[in-house]
């Protein structure tokens, strides 16, 4: 997928002025935050499980080569195939090759962010294979020719009025005057439409939430059952997964499963957690004839051993974006590539370069909510700071910001001068703003005051107040 992360600022402005989008984003708070808080409060061990989850993933990352080799052995022993792919292009070609060999006309797809990352749908379409998204949210955005705006709720930016238009435009065989108002109407219509497609599909493609080294299994976690029908009814099952999805054992997966659904949708368990191991056995009455795992690196192996290694613990629950004030304000499309929100602000520059995605780690208030809810305890703000630093070191940050920073650092490294300057400035601004208590415009602060007022300081600096209180013994 072509990134528009360079235009983050323009994207964000557009998003803030899009009334329909703003209405849709209002659902994030009630839909996710409250449910997560509720379900977490019902599990006293949740914090300890976060530690356990983090430790499992750290262990895996330190031994990733070993576990990947065991995974491959066990997939093979169960009659499946592992395809190692360095780049999105290799992964696309591998999947197309499987489709061609099976003379596939249509493929059904379960939701997969890695498939988005490699731009699979467009590629298959260009080569005469029709991909059909079966997750309801993914189906809607496929009809709209849009990328997902959220990693677990891809159509969260769309309102039901818009979906009604999309369904009427595409489902032309149905009564044009049918009712499309309640969520039930949409769900039933999509269910009926997609039913026929599952059975006709030559290949079923899913992602994976986990790969299990011990058994050679791939695991998907869904609520709709679409991923299960995709992998059950396609004549061949192709799993596309990035290599950090590995965990050692069924027990390790079980531990992380206790974190995943709670952090994602605020459920104790998602409805369907399915472990796939190889193709249909000889005596089985159903199941795919072939089982393939397309294992994607795409820059992840190079993240190991760097300050961004912790990002590879991510289990794609979306808690960080569900709790992010920036995501809630601008939505996922503004981020300009596949992964939005705080996890995207770290992963995107890691995968496509800080030159392309340098704006994203800057799109943070550093409020720290993402890290506080991350089930894998990924220090997202710290990593965004690392990227800001890299951006500065590479000379990629804008001239004005660099000039501002050098002025600031000139003062900051000379404490007495700094105190004098802030005392003068605070006193001056305090006197000037005494009337209204705020400024609607200030020189050098136009970026701030063009959209909101700057509160006027009260005339004293923090240093002075701190010193005074310490002297008076009221510090605590």
């Amino acid at each position: 997928m072509q990134s528009t992360s360079r235009q983050f600022k323009d994207n964000a402005h557009r998003a803030l002025n899009d009334a329909t989008l703003q209405r849709a984003l209002g659902n994030v708070k009630t839909g996710f935050q409250e449910k997560r808080a509720q379900v977490v409060s019902e599990l006293p061990e949740f914090e300890a499980l976060r530690d356990a989850g983090r430790d499992i993933k750290n262990h895996v990352l330190a031994n990733l080569d070993f576990y990947l080799e065991r995974f491959e052995e066990n997939v093979t022993a169960n009659g499946g195939h592992v395809h190692w792919c360095r780049t999105p292009a290799e992964a696309r070609e591998t999947i197309l090759e499987i489709c061609r060999r099976r003379e596939a006309k249509t493929v059904t797809k379960g939701k997969s962010m890695v498939a988005e990352e490699i731009g699979l749908n467009d590629y298959l379409e260009e080569h005469g294979v029709e991909p059909i998204e079966t997750d309801l949210g993914e189906y809607i955005i496929q009809l709209r020719h849009e990328p997902p705006s959220h990693i677990i709720a891809p159509a969260i930016h769309v309102t039901r009025e818009q979906i009604a238009e999309d369904f009427r435009r595409h489902h032309t065989d149905l009564d044009p005057n049918r009712r499309l108002e309640e969520p039930r109407d949409f769900t039933d219509e999509a269910r009926a439409k997609l039913r026929e497609r599952y059975f006709a599909a030559d290949v079923g493609i899913t992602g994976a939430n986990f790969l299990i080294a011990e058994t050679g299994s791939t695991v998907i976690v869904t609520n709709e059952g679409n991923g299960d029908m995709t992998q059950l009814l396609g004549k061949a099952h192709v799993v596309v997964a990035s290599l950090e999805k590995i965990v050692p054992t069924l027990e390790d997966a079980s531990t992380i499963l206790r974190l995943l659904a709670r952090s994602a949708t605020g459920q104790e368990m998602s409805v369907y957690t399915s472990f796939s191991t190889g193709p249909k056995r000889d005596a089985d009455m159903d199941g795919p004839e072939e089982f393939h795992v397309v294992l994607l690196d795409n820059g992840r192996s190079a993240m190991l051993g760097t300050e961004f290694q912790d990002m590879l613990r991510c289990i794609r629950c979306a808690a960080c974006m569900n709790h992010c004030p920036v995501y809630a304000a601008v939505g996922g499309h503004a981020y300009g590539w596949v992964y939005p929100g705080p996890m995207g602000s770290v992963l995107t520059p890691s995968l496509i370069g800080v030159e392309e995605a340098g704006h994203l780690p800057n799109a943070s208030t550093f409020c720290g909510r993402c890290e506080s809810v991350c089930p894998m305890r990924i220090p997202l703000p710290k990593m965004m700071r690392h990227y800001r630093q890299r951006e500065f070191e590479k000379g990629l940050s804008p001239q004005k910001a660099r000039a501002g920073l050098s002025v600031w650092s000139y003062f900051a490294t000379r404490p007495s001068l700094y105190r004098l300057a802030t005392r003068v400035a605070t006193g001056l601004l305090g006197r000037m703003g005494r009337g209204k208590g705020r400024f609607s415009s200030l020189p050098l602060a136009g970026g701030w005051t063009s959209v909101r007022d700057m509160p006027a300081p009260e005339g004293r600096t923090f240093h002075d107040l701190y010193k005074e209180r310490a002297a008076a013994g009221t510090r605590s």
Binding site: G31, A153, S217, E224, M229, T255, V271, T273, R281, A283
Partner: protein
């Protein structure tokens, strides 16, 4: 160099070491060969079968299942008939082959002569399936089903309604206890580990989606209703 060698080489380069060997590798082999449990929530600790069953029923209902209890396996057909009638569903089911012919006993449908029964997997046209389960996990009201010749997976997903039969003896506390039984039941004759079926499904409630404006709807693609019949045994 192959992509495989390249990727493994890149991982090792980033980690600053060569392929693991000797004790390091042996330790990891042991971690895989004798899987250890991690922290398990206290929720199910110390419960006997009755306590686990009560917790399972609470959880399953919380996640939108309906639950019935019957005294014996023989009482299942009548319980199925009564359920279909109560929910105003057609008196037709497709049952897993395991229920037609099993060492544990087959369902005798003569007790519910109005119910039309076929045996096999689903082609998507059936209203209601009836399946056994491998285990029921009280911790989260979750069913564990495994694919086999006599338990085809289609029955778990394709019909509009799914009726799952749980014997009380299949009730476990945490998910890890279900895996322990699973490993034991599928142990290879030569003692070298266990065999995986093509698929293991953990199912917690009926199919649902929140993709239309975050409003939860049942029956997105899979069954709209999940009814659990707990059988005393």
């Amino acid at each position: 160099m192959s992509a495989r060698d390249d990727i493994l080489g890149s991982i090792r380069k980033s980690l600053g070491r060569s392929a693991l060997a000797g004790d390091d590798a042996a330790q990891l082999h042991q971690r895989l060969g004798r899987p250890q449990r991690n922290l398990i929530p206290d929720r199910t600790a110390g419960r006997d079968t009755a306590g686990l069953t009560a917790l399972f029923m609470d959880k399953a209902r919380e996640f939108a299942c309906t639950v019935d209890e019957v005294d014996s396996f023989e009482a299942v057909p009548e319980a199925v008939r009564a359920y279909l009638s109560r929910e105003n569903l057609p008196a037709r089911v497709v049952q897993a082959p395991a229920l037609a012919d099993s060492p544990d006993g087959a369902l005798d449908w003569s007790a519910a002569p109005t119910v039309e029964v076929k045996t096999g997997t689903s082609d998507g046209s059936e209203d209601t399936s009836v399946t056994p389960v491998f285990a029921a996990i009280a911790e989260t009201g979750t069913l564990m089903l495994t694919s086999d010749a006599a338990t085809p997976t289609g029955l778990n997903f394709l019909p509009e309604n799914h009726i799952a039969l749980v014997r009380r003896s299949q009730m476990v506390g945490p998910l890890e206890d279900a895996w322990a039984r699973f490993r034991a039941a599928r142990a290879k004759a030569d003692g070298d580990g266990f065999g995986m079926p093509r698929t293991v499904n953990l199912i917690t409630g009926p199919s649902r989606t929140g993709d239309i404006e975050q409003k939860i709807q049942m029956g997105a693609h899979g069954p709209r209703r999940l009814h659990v019949i707990i059988v005393a045994d």
